[in-house]
Assembly symmetry: C2
Homo-oligomer: 132 residues x 2
């Protein structure tokens, strides 16, 4: 993807009181919803400029370049802003798995009549993902 000037996008995004906006990552071709994380202005700007998805880690309080330790990067295909500007949808091409548990998606627990059911398999052991 060619770099995108973030000015117009940043102007139409409503960041919350903490300066953050929720961002949903969806695999661009299969439609799988992979994860939801947060972005600040800098993360949005870097993502559009670099074509690699960068979030804001609320726990580490720093930029979180998805895949920088696990290698499971997200390449940006399209960044969409919702009608009131307070949520972002990222269409991405996810390398490997999105979830730190080694599952393709973070949404692997379904609420069903029989209780909570795991509906996604572990594809890569977490030890493999985060080994040095």
């Amino acid at each position: 993807m060619p770099p995108i000037d973030p000015a117009a996008a940043l102007e139409s995004i409503s960041f919350n009181a903490d300066g953050l906006v929720p961002a949903i990552a969806q695999q661009f071709d299969t439609g799988e919803v992979l994860m939801m994380a947060w972005m600040n202005r800098e993360a949005v700007a870097e993502t559009l400029a670099s074509g690699r998805v960068c979030y804001w880690s609320r726990s580490r309080k720093g930029l979180w370049r998805k895949g920088e330790t696990s290698g499971q990067q997200q390449r940006l295909k399209e960044l969409l802003i919702d009608c009131d500007g307070d949520t972002i949808l990222l269409k991405v091409d996810q390398d490997g798995v999105a979830c730190h548990t080694g599952r393709r998606t973070c949404f692997y627990t379904a609420a069903r009549t029989e209780g909570l059911v795991e509906v996604e398999k572990v594809l890569i052991a977490p030890e493999e993902l985060y080994k040095k």
Copy 2:
């Protein structure tokens, strides 16, 4: 869908300081991401019990039974909880359109090299959606 006892789901959801959790709605068969809104405990419980999606309206500070004024209801197919319990994915069957602008999805503004581009058509005029 049969009614689902919400106890197990409620126990594994981490509601934020305002008692809310973000919920992404996705059309179950096409994979379209339709919208993101918020739920409190009561909205989660009602959604699982009734099979009709109910959010919490932060602006109206009340339960928001999706479609109660517009008729554009969401029937629940599956409720999924993410790995750290702080986001919900609702697989739904959306009647008509999800967005108050009359578009199928709220995510209709794409950030591209040429600027912001509208990528979804208005399918139902908003005056039609909200007429009495």
